[in-house]
Symmetry: C2
Subunit: 346 residues, 2 copies
């Protein structure tokens, strides 16, 4: 634990958007019903290392475990301070959370999908100003979040494609849905340029609004901010830049996101003037079942995974140690369940 | 930080009761208006080491700092895992909290002062069952809480007097108020024997209901429980005993409570078969301004101070180290303010 008033703090904003309910949008849960539980479970996993109220460890339909287990592994190795912020949770979590008034987001094809966006932005900004930390790493957990991130980028008039938790990025489906949302919100692409609150309320989700508020507040009080994630963090950075902030901002992501050619996060980071850190957990050096789906291109990011890995790397922790801890947590939580599934298979 | 699924966890239940609004009942705030902020501020102090949303470090009217600073000092020395549970907070806290549905309690002279007691007990019990820990230390922060503790004891038919955050325990005022409350609730003393939920709903507060639920749930899942505090923890133990639990329960309190002849906590602990640990922080060995009001008999306990000290002692931490850390935190947070007050004095 860091002493009073300083050090590194990792904050996770967890919430939901009905946009995730569209088939083929997200891999952040074994089925569409479980998607809304994922952020509540991720919060518990990072906090306690096991589910408490949710009683579930999120996996993708093909068995890729939630990146929360990676973040938790780093947390156990580093003893990292974590604060969970309720960015519109739909299910009860046993993790302690800070409230900023965010409520679950609706589908972005609706006219006003995030009515709590302005209030959550303002409360998160105040909280970010007051939160004692020398530096803040900000992660997210929200299934369907890359699609709402695309919605925000298009509303702001930013180019670039977002990444995906699926190995094959459904970019056409996302663009079509965003076009539908812009129409429902009576917005032309780029019409919300320099109007970040309008963009996130009409085309985003409550997690993006909360993260943008936290970032704005933290930089206002001279706390260094590193956005820990991929496409959604690009959208947060775009919101903050369109709000007029021109100072230093970090982006720490995984090699899986950085190498995703469908998204080109490096170019987006360049355009938004973000200090990019890319960390490779080296999962391809292992044949552990919990890592193979990451190597196959699933998940890629989430729950601040890229930022957690960057912090471990900066502290001189070998990635092999992070992998070992991740494997131990995975085996403890879902190793048996996976084996049971395998036995039932064809 | 402890690894997944085990270790020692410290849980703080913070909440409010309108009973604290009665003049002369509590020293847990500089004035009656600030009393309702104290638990929200205590939660922030234990979590972050400084106020975040509350913007206040609670002190008594005579300047005794909140025991939260002692618990925070131990936390910084030991790296203790802390979980804050919302036991009916009246003000927004920047500390992350777990919700069990508790709402602020009304004055016990009303007929139904804690309508959320049953729901909070049930949700806290489930949470206590699921919370991963080998042992759980449970503390409280609720101004006016010794009076509601007395209310619960009398409703259950337990003898003994409660302690006080004031140097002179207003025992007669408390007994009169409890008698008024029993009348309003149509209860004879002892009429709620073996009916803990009825006792806490009619004569207690939401923090006592939440702590009783947590204790019940934790012992049901074989987590060792130590109640960290004084009179309020005696009331929690009485609620759990009257609910039929006969197993082992710890009580860790300060020397200030143990030596309070107006209360005789030792006798109550004996009657309820609690394993008592008493720890003296040795504040009398220092002439630090932040410790002198404790030595004069103010505060005595709160925010799990006795349990935190017991954990430090068990870990072989010298009390001098705890005192040094406490002094540093105090000087950083309120040293200047105290000096300013002194300069303005006569």
């Amino acid at each position: 634990m860091t002493p009073s008033g300083g050090g590194t703090r990792f904050a996770l904003v967890a919430g939901t958007t009905d946009t995730a309910g569209r088939a083929g949008i997200s891999a952040a849960g074994a089925d569409s019903e479980l998607l809304s539980v994922t952020p509540a479970a991720d919060a518990e996993l990072v906090t306690y290392g096991s589910p408490v109220r949710t009683d579930v460890v999120p996996v993708s339909p093909s068995g890729c475990p939630t990146p929360a287990l990676v973040t938790r592994a780093v947390r156990e190795v580093l003893g990292l301070d974590v604060t969970i912020i309720d960015g519109g949770l739909a299910e009860k979590t046993g993790a302690p959370t800070v409230s900023v008034g965010a409520r679950p987001g609706k589908d972005i094809a609706e006219q006003d999908p995030v009515p709590t966006a302005h209030g959550a932005f303002a409360a998160a900004r105040q909280f970010g100003q007051a939160l004692p930390a020398d530096e803040l790493y900000l992660g997210e957990s929200i299934p369907g979040g890359t699609t709402t991130a695309l919605g925000v980028l298009r509303a702001l008039g930013e180019n670039g494609m977002v990444s995906s938790s699926l190995p094959e990025n459904p970019t056409e489906q996302k663009e079509n849905l965003v076009a539908e949302g812009l129409l429902a919100s009576s917005l032309e692409p780029g019409e919300a340029e320099n109007e970040p609150k309008r963009a996130v309320r009409r085309m985003g989700d409550p997690v993006l609004a909360t993260l943008a508020g936290l970032t704005a507040g933290a930089v206002e009080s001279d706390t260094a901010v590193t956005l820990a994630g991929g496409s959604q963090c690009i959208a947060v950075a775009a919101l903050v830049r369109h709000g007029g902030y021109e100072g230093s901002l970090g982006l720490a992501t995984t090699s899986y996101v950085a190498e995703d050619e469908s998204a080109d996060v490096r170019a987006s980071a360049d355009r938004l003037d973000l200090d990019l850190t890319v960390t490779d957990p080296g999962f391809d050096e292992s044949d552990h079942v919990g890592m193979e789906r990451f190597v196959a291109g699933e998940a890629k990011e989430g729950v601040g995974m890229g930022g957690a890995l960057a912090l471990a790397d900066r502290a001189g922790i070998p990635m092999a140690e992070v992998r070992d801890r991740f494997a131990a947590i995975y085996d403890d939580l879902i190793g048996d369940a996976t084996m049971a599934t395998a036995e039932e298979g064809p």
